[in-house]
Amino acid sequence: MNLLLRIATILSFLGHYPSYILGYLIETIIVIIFATVVIAGMVYIFRKYMARVQMRIGPNRVGKFGIMQVMADGLKLIQKESIMPKGRDDLAYKLAPILIFFGLIMGFIFIPYGPLAWFGDLTVSHSDVSLIIIFALIAIMPIGEILSGISSNNKYAVIGTLRGIAKDISFEVPMMLSILAIVMAASAKVSNPLDINGVVVAQSIPFAILEPLGFFVFIISMAARASYSPFDMGESDSELVTGNTTEYSGLRFGFFYLGLFGTIFLGSMMISTIYLGGYLGPFTNYMGFIWLLIKTLILVIISLTIWLSMPRVRIDKFINFGWKYLLPIAFVNLVIVGFLVLGGIA
């Protein structure tokens, strides 16, 4: 029994197909709302945590303990005038934030959330190739970044975009190689290794223990994808103002901001799904979703700590690191996993 079936049963008076289509739509909307609320909550947690690390109090004026501060900031961004630069490429300029938001939200739809008590399995979309689909959807976000950089007619934005492209290329190849190792290891256990749900089911031993090298590569890649410090050379605020988002303001800037925090959350969710056993844990059938959230939150807090304590890596050193260390490590990991699968250990 999963959530889709529950909703469809409630709507069954509409007939078979309409009830399923409507149920699917409702569940998608629930997930989008869930993602937005979670990201807003994360911004709040981040600001409170950041304040504690930096010996400050953090937001505490709007609502109890400043909980409504994020809401107030969001409202402020919405009602602000969106200042647009002269000489921009209008379509690309307006499309970029939408692409970022789209890639981010669609990524959430394919995550296997696992079962939760009465609701059953919360996963919205099942597919035999959902692992590939997720990475394809996340790969839309860099396109948004590139569009925003080259369309806004600003030198800082162009330099930031060039840095961003160089960075993306140098970590995405090792990242996909580490995912390849995951698929190999999963194929030994389940019949659908390209389904991200299959990857979770295959983890009677979490892949983080089985493939520590791949785990390392993937964590670094996800940090670079979210581009927080030390990997924020694309938007390095002390060098390039804010890189590709320099010319954005108002709600459009809000989308980029949402994209940053959303990617941290989505990345942490994917790390915990692919490497830490996702919703697996004691009493999986009742509280699988809770396990996923706990694992994700721990990873988010680790990411924030790294963000707050590290200076920025120089772009050429990161490219060096990507090609000279991450890529060979990913290959070595692939070979090791190959032998593990052959030896029947994985």
């Binding site: 930096q54 410090s229 924020d232 002390s238 590290m310 200076p311 772009i315």
Partner: protein, 374 residues
């Protein structure tokens, strides 16, 4: 076939500042870029020019202090001490012994406060958010001490010709000691945040190498010069205030790069704390004002001749040149501002470096624009 002749190397011209998060204050850098590489840097200054020297010439000798406060506004006490060094010699008013020691203490506290700001801002330049708040906690404590003794935080206007505004009492001595007790531990905490981080080291070591002869040609002084291996410190070379009666070391480094400047500035803070401790122990009793320069008499002070005084401000050698023509107002006031000279070496330092390194280098110059533009 690809025609390679069409692919020309185009240089980009980029204006960094005057409103830019990494250029401290209102520095404007005109960069010529080849991709990410900086081919040429041209610092453009003058956005904070307030004519301070000329205004000083229109006022009485005692009134110039507030303009000096606003030159290096993060180390106001050092500016006051520098001006008084010249003005008191010109006017022939000797400060009492106790005042000399009080000024030494205040100048060193101010030096710590200034270096702390630099440390925090340098962390921000390299993308570290957290150390900024750690150092500002300590700086706020120093500013609280200033408020206690002078009534204001930054532009203190504490010293005056022939004395200080208010005597040290037991409370302030206790507060300074209390500050010094906890300061070294907190400083090491921040220091470790910097030097125990591999990324920080990779951003600073071997970058922005300033050869000693180049530094001397450009008139670079202060921690910048000492990080290049030249042991020149006015406090030792030509002691003023009570610096010849306290025991301290002038830190130098032979590394010559950004990392050396970080190390030197942190070591200077430790030495300053040492100096304050000694000065508090040796603080003599006595008057805190020379009776010749009472408030009612102050506007009648007349000076004749010219005098140049050099002091060691946190940024380097701070020189004040005063000419008096026998009236109640100075005929000419000129300031040798160390940050201005240190800035002038930037084009030589940041040649053929990456943009990221340019920011890392200009962060170590420790620029305060109140002083560069005056």
């Amino acid at each position: 076939m690809v025609e390679q002749g069409n692919l020309k190397n185009r240089l980009i011209e980029l204006n960094m500042g005057p409103q830019h998060p990494s250029t401290h204050g209102v520095l404007r850098l005109k960069l010529t870029l080849d991709g990410e590489t900086v081919k040429k840097v041209e610092p453009i200054i003058g956005y904070l020019h307030r004519n301070a020297e000329k205004i000083c010439e229109l006022d009485f000798y005692c009134d110039a202090l507030i303009y000096f406060d606003r030159m290096d506004y993060v180390a106001a006490m050092n500016m006051e001490a520098g001006y008084l060094e010249a003005a008191e010699k010109l006017l022939g008013i000797e400060p009492p012994e106790r005042v000399v020691w009080i000024r030494t203490i205040m100048a060193e506290l101010s030096r710590i406060a200034s270096h702390l700001v630099w440390a925090g801002a340098y962390g921000l330049d390299l993308g570290m958010l957290t150390p900024f708040f750690y150092v500002f906690e300590q700086r706020e404590k120093i500013l609280d001490l200033f408020t206690e003794i002078s009534g204001s935080r930054q532009e203190t206007n504490y010293m005056s010709i022939g004395g200080v505004y208010q005597d040290f009492n037991d409370k302030i001595v206790y507060l300074i000691r209390e500050f010094l007790d906890q300061f070294p531990k907190k400083l090491e905490e921040v220091f470790n945040l910097f030097v125990k981080n591999d990324i920080f080291i990779s951003r600073t070591k071997g970058i922005g190498i300033l050869e000693p002869d180049v530094a001397l040609q450009y008139g670079v002084t202060g921690p910048m010069l000492r990080a290049s291996g030249v042991p020149y410190d006015v406090r030792k070379a030509q002691p003023y205030l009570a610096y010849d009666r306290v025991n301290f070391e002038v830190p130098i480094s032979k590394r010559k790069d950004n990392y050396a400047r970080v190390l030197v500035r942190f070591e200077e803070m430790r030495q300053s704390a040492k100096i304050i401790k000694q000065a508090l122990d040796k603080l003599p009793d006595g008057p805190y004002f020379n009776p010749k320069a009472k408030k009612s008499l102050m506007v009648r002070l007349r000076g004749e001749g010219d005098f140049y005084a050099r002091t060691e401000s946190p940024k380097g050698e701070f020189g004040v040149y005063l000419v008096g023509d026998g009236t109640v107002k100075p005929y000419r006031v000129h300031v040798r501002s160390p940050a201005f000279k240190n800035l002038s070496v930037l084009p030589a330092l940041a040649k053929d470096v990456l943009i990221a390194d340019l920011v890392a280098i200009s962060g170590t110059l420790d620029l305060v624009f109140g002083e560069v533009d005056r």
